[in-house]
Amino acid sequence: MTDQAMPADMLLDVRDLRTGFALREGYVRAVDGASFHVRRGETIGVVGESGCGKSITARTILRIAGTSDDSLAGKVIFRRSSGEVTDLLELPHSGREIRRIRGAEIAMIFQEPMTAFSPVHTIGNQIIEAIRLHQSISKEEARTAAVDMLRRVEMSSAEKRIDAYPHQLSGGMRQRAMIAMALVCRPQLLLADEPTTALDVTTQAQILGLIRQLKDDLGMSVMMITHDLGVVAETAQTVAVMYLGKVVEMADVKSLFRDPKHPYTRALLASIPKLGRRAGEPLHPVKGMVPSPFNRPIGCPFHTRCPSAMPGICEKSMPGKTTVAGGHTVSCFLFGEGDKAEEQSA
């Protein structure tokens, strides 16, 4: 296909991804120039407030976002297990090609395992189906594989639970089943869309541990989408911070937490209540509200809420991606106008 040169350890390269929805009220730019990449065996955390476009980004990678093809721009370059490199955006969204990738090479798990499973089919049925979609094996073999996978996700009495309906399982169990279904075809990349948000804290830790362990066992990459910086700190090696459809900062997890650059990232980190915080000490939420997607600000999207906004600059144009350290990029005029070498085309 086109120029898709990609370092060998790179699994997925999202370059200036844009997409949106045409609604009666107007056009919504859900993702507005997001760029990041995922390396093999790496967990990347994608962080942002609700509605910042992180879920849509993940779904657009799988081409199941339900947006129209016209609204797509940019590239999503993926190295398939065959070694072939493909721009996923160029595949027909319901074509055979992308369907072979879905589930088999890139899998996805969701926040609410209750609604993510069909309520009227057993989880076994749904897992077995996932296997048989991509592997031509008999039902019995698929069932064995499914039970194996359920055991791997530490589902107790997996042989019995496989015939359970989703509503018969607890939330944690359902999420385990969900993970089992996603990983049963051994994908290279797991898109985990807030997998633990709906779970209580103990279960949350268990599930995160499970994902981490399976990642290592199976040698896959994980894109961990979350609004919870704690989750990121716990699981990710790299972090991308999204705001209003843009990746505003990307760095490895240590430098991000130690030295956040973008005012938004800083604000986010400041809003986390810290253990040992003195009573009465105020929380520091991010000021203001996320602007309406119909009416996003011109210039830097964050300037309406930014404590360090520079009048006359920030509301005029969009800052480019500036590399501040090795592997640490940020899009903010405080740090420069953007790398000239960047392949920005917008």
Partner: protein
């Protein structure tokens, strides 16, 4: 599951009992009784019937007794399988209903199948391709189907079939087959007559069910489990059919309970217009002439059909939906 079915079955008995009472009361609601309307018929024909004669007849037919006595006698009879004699047809009610039941059911089932066969795929199409020209077209057609009074449609269709194809009109058989034993030719003749009533009966139902299916499916399509299935790499068609359609069928199934008797009683008007040998027109004349044992038996049967239909749909629902089954 078994417990659930048993529990529902037990509920059937009091329901039917109450329905039988109400049925009987409804039949008795109009002033007078069968003799009143019978004598009115005689008198409008010019015969003069003396009051003494009317009183005697009333006693002979057991119509003079209090309603609860009549009800009791009727119920006792029904429980022992005796549904009484039709005043109007002067024949046992069981025979009358019996000779029309098979065709009534055949017609109902035929139109039910037609309704489902047409409305399901169209409903699915309309939902999946919401706001497409096809969706608008089918929506339009189904509203037209809802709006056209079916008795008028029946008459027009009958006239059209006669004037264009010279088809024999009304009924479910050509005259030469009416009394012939069943044969292939008779079956074909039956089928050639069946389409008009089935189409007329179906048209309103189709429209309604398309709307229901479309709405149900539209509710299901945005659900997360659909996305999950998509993320697994499933093809769109098999995905829609396996997941959201399956779930959308649940509310659909619960309509079976009322569809079955609805096709029997709702077809009364159409059956009258098309002269169909079903229980509908018989019920209508029985009610009009206050032929109470016949009307009562048909009504009771309809009510039982409803209760059974509801039971079936509840059981089906439980079978289809594990959430109900296991709660």
């Amino acid at each position: 599951m078994a417990g659930y079915v048993l529990q529902r079955l037990l509920l059937v008995i009091p329901t039917v009992f109450v329905i039988s009472i109400i049925t009987f009361v409804i039949i008795q609601l109009p002033p007078g009784d069968f003799l009143t309307s019978y004598i009115a018929t005689l008198e409008s024909g010019g015969q003069v019937v003396d009051q003494a004669q009317i009183d005697a007849l009333r006693a002979q037919y057991g119509l003079g007794e209090p309603v609860y006595v009549q009800y009791w006698k009727w119920v006792v009879g029904v429980l022992s399988g005796d549904f009484g004699h039709s005043f109007q047809w002067k024949r046992p009610v069981v025979d009358l209903i019996g000779e029309r039941m098979a065709l009534t059911i055949a017609l109902s089932v035929a139109s039910l199948l037609l309704v489902w066969a047409i409305s399901l795929p169209i409903g699915i199409y309309s939902a999946v391709r919401q706001y497409s020209p096809g969706d608008y077209f089918f929506t339009f057609i189904s509203f037209v189907g809802l709006g056209v009074p079916n008795f008028l449609f029946a008459l027009v269709l009958m006239w059209w079939a006669y004037s264009q194809f010279g088809m024999s009109v009304g009924g479910l058989f050509s005259p030469q087959y009416a009394d012939a034993p069943w044969s292939l030719a008779k079956v074909l003749d039956f089928l050639s007559h069946l389409w008009i009533p089935a189409a007329v009966l179906a048209i309103g139902g189709i429209a309604g069910l398309i709307r229901i299916m479309r709405a149900n499916l539209l509710d299901e399509l945005p659900k997360l489990y659909v996305t999950t299935a998509r993320a697994k790499g499933m093809g769109e068609t098999s995905l829609v059919l396996k997941y959201p359609v399956r779930v959308a069928l649940n509310p659909f199934v619960s309509t079976i309970g009322w569809t079955l008797p609805g096709l029997v009683s709702g077809s009364i008007i159409v059956s009258v217009v098309l002269n169909l040998p079903t229980t509908g027109p018989m019920l209508l004349t029985a009610l009009q002439s206050q032929d109470m044992y016949l009307a009562g038996a048909i009504l009771l049967m309809l009510s039982i059909l409803t209760v059974i239909g509801t039971l079936i749909s509840d059981v089906l629902l439980a079978w289809l939906d594990p959430r109900i089954r296991f709660n």
